[in-house]
């Protein structure tokens, strides 16, 4: 028997696939009959050729029919699924709402991630733009700096032809005036190639604007602020830098700058204008700005870092106090990953990693919780559908079809939830953005391919996770067992128990986090910063000449207790200096960087700084201006001074005597540990800040008085006074409020989802034990003992969840707090107990009425059941 006795097997297999709903047997018979007939007449080859041709010719017709049938079946499944969902209305609503809210959270978390990873990627040439960073080694500890000496960029461009453009960016304070509008502004300065290298589309004007030092660029907000809706091109404005007054012409207005751009500016002028601050742009001693390179062939940068030693030499000769080791390059698209110090106050910071990772983790956990709920309720309800499943199987329903049915139901639910989630995300995204000043999440489904792919994947994964377990588990039941009533639905098996415990754990953890972050916010608002921030108003003077007149006018007011002048101000400005101790017997000299505050009269008293050893400055002693220094406790510790008072230290190669030690204070909130710091006395001709200590119950009135006096004395400049407590805590307050609000809603959501899961499983447990409870009651069981019987299992799960959540939550939340703040309120035991108790109360309320109902019901009802 040759293989040609039978028709091609592959062709037959194909035909079989094509008619799953018709009878493929009959069709195959027809084909085979014809095949044998043709083989008899024309031979096997012709017959096989015919067979294959017929298979191919039949393909289109049968495929179309198949597609039609699939759609019809789908319609059927959808109708059944829809009926099921409507029948279990309450659970459908809980499931759909839980899923859609969790999905919406995922969308927002993705947008948040996309925002962060999209930092600076909108520049068309982002791939060929590099920033020059520097490395300094202090105490064998390499530090990355984002700033570079001013002449470095142009020198590199002149030496290395593969560098197309160099753009340096710097900034300075100025007073901006157009007609009667006067405001303090920060002006950015950039090299003329700025618009060739970076992609900032212009609303008005031409990209060559910066080649003319007399022209400036505005962002749209600033343009509106000064010029309203009119086109400001060609308008003349005056800008005062320090004491120099200059006239500029508005040359261009950019389109709105995306929030996830490191480069943000209100006013941009040509780099040459920096000379108004007395900067010599060719001087290697001048630092304080960032340098970008435009390198069309990034491979050329390899090894360049090592060829810059000559520049390092130039720099280190010019600034022996500030020695650097090397320069290196960071590609613009990766800049968002680099640490904050390299941002150099010129570039906007990207999101804190904790702000990207934790929303994503939480959103995924919420989604898992919602899916687990879905699984648990689906299993619970399969109990009611066991007969349907049994009948379907007996009638010849294939397991595949049952799986399809359950998956279809789950998918339908997901599609509904998904539609809702898309709408919810439109609400959530702006709400979440509004919590964070630096965030601007745009929901744009139409114009965002990665988002669409992400959403589709999310839908699919959600549907599969939510539907898989019930689909595969329930469809595996044997129909005989089901119909004989032998199939016990393993409702509370280890798997469902684990799912519920997981849900409860997450819920307790999130509640715990909410409590901890609320506590922390309160702690950080009231924490002692080491000085008295509550009673201080501060006014930047702009010009030290104004100090005396202004002070003399202020001291008349009885609400003002003290007035101080200074060159530095806590939370506002200080100077980085290198300090060194003298080598003494048995001890080497210690060298390191410290923060130096130059203060004037009354500053210690006004700010409430506390002297712990020695004395404060004495204005009557001339030597205090030249030789004296006060150090903080951290300085004493890090520089190994056990008896600091009377010791000599070197600051920038000048010798000073330590006259006093002051208590450590936090410069700007509790983000970072206290640096070693020192105070030096400075003369009134350098007072840039005036601080006033006022009665704390008269802060607002006194601020108004300060403003009036300022406007009377210095009418040409705006009043910029501020509240010390708001200034130093503003950022921490924003962050704390944001975290607290976010966690409040997440905790609410997690609690609702967990409670819904508990409720579903409770109904299942009670339904399964209806008869048992009835018998127990007939035999005299009390309401209490029945309640305990049912609750025992759930209480065990809740206890496990609480312990897990407390232990896990303690470490995770502490890690999160540590990653944001150097000093925080900690986690503590009490919040763990509170979160547990809270969850217990919620759980008891959820299951309580169900248990009560069954425990107080008439046992006859239960025994008559079914």
């Amino acid at each position: 028997m040759s293989r040609h006795d039978t028709p091609p097997r592959l062709g037959a297999w194909l035909l079989e696939r094509l008619r799953p709903h018709g009878d493929s047997d009959v069709l195959l018979g027809d084909f085979e009959e014809e095949y044998h007939y043709l083989r008899g007449r024309y031979g096997a080859r012709a017959a096989r050729r015919w067979y294959w041709r017929q298979v191919l010719l039949s393909l289109p017709g049968f495929t179309a029919q198949l597609a039609y049938w699939s759609l019809t079946m789908l319609k059927n499944y959808l109708i059944i699924a829809g009926r099921q969902l409507v029948k279990n209305g309450r659970y459908t609503v809980i499931n759909v709402v839980g899923l859609s809210v969790a999905l919406a959270c995922c969308i927002v978390a993705y947008l948040n991630y996309d925002f962060s990873f999209g930092f600076d990627k909108f520049h068309e040439n982002a791939e060929r733009i590099y920033r020059v960073n520097s490395i300094r080694v202090v105490h064998d500890n390499p530090q990355e700096w984002g700033i570079t000496p001013m002449p470095l960029g142009p020198a590199m461009q002149a030496e290395f032809p593969f560098i197309d453009n160099v753009v340096r960016i710097s900034l300075g304070d100025a007073v901006f005036q157009y007609e009667e509008k006067v405001f303090n502004e920060t002006v950015y300065f950039a090299d003329p190639a700025f618009f060739d290298v970076f992609t900032f589309p212009l609303r008005h004007g031409t990209p060559d604007v910066l080649r003319d030092p007399g022209r400036i660029v505005l962002n749209p907000e600033t343009a509106v602020k000064y010029f309203g809706q009119e086109n400001p091109i060609g308008r003349q404005v005056t800008i005062r830098f320090d004491d120099e007054l200059r006239t500029f012409t508005v040359g261009a207005v950019v389109e709105k700058i995306p929030q996830n751009s490191s480069i943000q500016f209100d006013i941009l002028a040509a780099y040459d204008n920096l000379r108004v601050y007395g900067d010599d742009l060719e001087d290697w001693r001048r630092w304080g700005h960032v340098t970008f390179l435009d390198v069309p062939d990034p491979a050329a940068l390899a090894g360049l870092s090592d060829r810059l030693t000559a520049y390092i030499g130039l720099q280190n000769t010019a600034r022996p106090d500030l020695e650097f080791e090397r320069f290196y390059f960071v590609p613009l698209p990766e800049m968002f990953l680099t640490s904050d110090p390299t941002r150099a106050y010129i570039l906007t910071e990207s999101l804190h990693p904790a702000a990207v990772v934790s929303p994503a983790v939480i959103a995924v956990l919420l989604l898992l919780m919602a899916c687990f709920n879905f699984m648990n309720t689906a299993i619970a309800f399969a109990g009611k559908r066991l007969k349907e499943i049994g009948v379907r199987k007996v009638m010849g329903g294939l397991r595949r079809q049952l799986i399809g049915q359950f998956m279809g139901e789950s998918m339908l639910l997901c599609v509904i939830a998904f539609g809702l989630a898309l709408l919810l995300a439109e609400v959530f995204a702006p709400a979440y953005s509004s919590l964070w000043p630096y965030l601007d999440l745009q929901v744009d489904y139409a114009d965002n391919a990665p988002l669409l792919v992400f959403l589709a994947a999310l839908l699919l994964i959600t549907g599969i996770i939510a539907g898989a377990y019930p689909a595969f588990y329930i469809s595996s039941f044997s129909p005989v067992n089901i119909l004989k009533g032998r199939q016990q639905l393993a409702g509370l098996n280890y798997f469902t128990r684990a799912l519920l415990t997981f849900q409860l754990t997450i819920a307790v953890m999130v509640i715990l986090a909410g409590i901890v972050f609320t506590n922390n916010a309160r702690y950080q608002e009231t924490v002692d910063l080491g000085y008295d921030k509550e009673m201080v108003l501060m006014v930047p003077l702009g010009n030290p000449d104004r100090f005396t007149t202004y002070r003399d006018a202020l001291v008349q007011n009885p609400d003002i207790l003290n007035v101080a002048g200074s060159r530095s101000h806590i939370g506002y400005s200080y100077f980085g200096r290198v300090a060194e101790t003298l080598p003494a017997a048995g001890r080497e000299a210690i060298k390191g960087e410290i923060d130096v505050y130059l203060i004037g009269e009354n500053y210690l008293e006004t700010m409430g700084l506390r002297i712990v050893d020695g004395r404060g400055f004495d204005l009557d002693m001339d030597t205090d201006f030249t030789d004296a220094v006060m150090v903080n406790q951290t300085f004493a510790r890090q520089f190994g001074l056990t008896e600091p008072v009377g010791q000599t230290i070197i600051l920038d190669s000048t010798r000073y005597e330590v006259v006093g030690v002051f208590e450590d204070f936090f410069d700007a909130g509790v983000w970072n540990p206290v640096d070693p710091g020192a105070l030096r006395l400075t003369t009134p001709d350098r007072y840039y800040y005036l601080s006033a200590r006022v009665r704390s119950d008269r802060l607002d009135e006194t601020n108004a008085f300060l403003r009036q006096t300022w406007q009377r004395l210095v009418p040409e400049e705006p009043y910029n006074g501020l509240y010390q407590n708001e200034e130093v805590l503003a950022e921490a307050k924003t962050i704390n409020t944001g975290i607290r609000t976010t966690f409040f809603y997440i905790a609410l959501l997690a609690t609702v989802i967990a409670a819904a899961g508990l409720f579903g499983l409770m109904s299942l447990a009670i339904a399964r034990r209806t008869k048992e409870i009835g018998i127990r009651k007939v035999l005299g069981a009390s309401v209490f003992s029945v309640g305990r019987l049912i609750n025992k299992e759930f209480i065990v799960m809740l206890l496990i969840a609480s312990v897990l959540a407390s232990v896990l939550g303690y470490f995770v939340i502490k890690m999160l707090l540590d990653s944001i703040w150097a000093y925080h309120g900690g986690v503590g035991l009490l919040p763990c107990v509170l979160a547990t108790v809270f969850m217990f109360v919620i759980a008891l309320a959820t299951v309580g009425w169900q248990v009560y109902k069954i425990a107080t019901s008439n046992p006859v009802q239960a025994l008559r059941y079914e």
């Binding site: 039978t6 018709g22 085979e32 009959e33 017929q54 039949s58 017709g61 029919q65």
Partner: protein, 106 residues
């Protein structure tokens, strides 16, 4: 009642003509002989499925046969409903022909 499509009408007529011996292979051969056109199995079975669904034909399976690899034949018979549908086609056609010059049919 929707009108029959062309292939449906042809198949119904072929099934009527073949009488007791109307199944896939014979129907297809018969159609090809008379029309001189090629018919794939799909173009026979897809309309047959539709006719069955609408109740114009009924199908009965015969005994398994050796030349078909042990598979059954499915014989089709036209129901009174199918006959009525054919009659309806005739009526429509003759009504449309009223007054159309004979020449048009050559």
């Amino acid at each position: 009642m929707t009108l029959l499509r062309r292939t449906e009408e042809l198949i119904l007529l072929a099934v009527l003509q073949l009488g007791e011996n109307a199944y896939g292979v014979t129907i297809r051969r018969h159609l090809m002989e008379i029309t001189g056109e090629h018919f794939s199995f799909a173009s026979v079975y897809v309309p047959l499925d539709r006719l069955t669904e609408r109740g114009y034909v009924t199908a009965t399976d015969g005994p398994p046969t050796k030349e078909r690899g042990g598979r059954r034949r499915r014989f089709y018979r036209v129901t009174p409903g199918g006959v009525a549908a054919l009659a309806e086609m005739e009526r429509v056609r003759s009504a449309l022909r009223q007054g159309v010059p004979k020449l048009a049919f050559g």
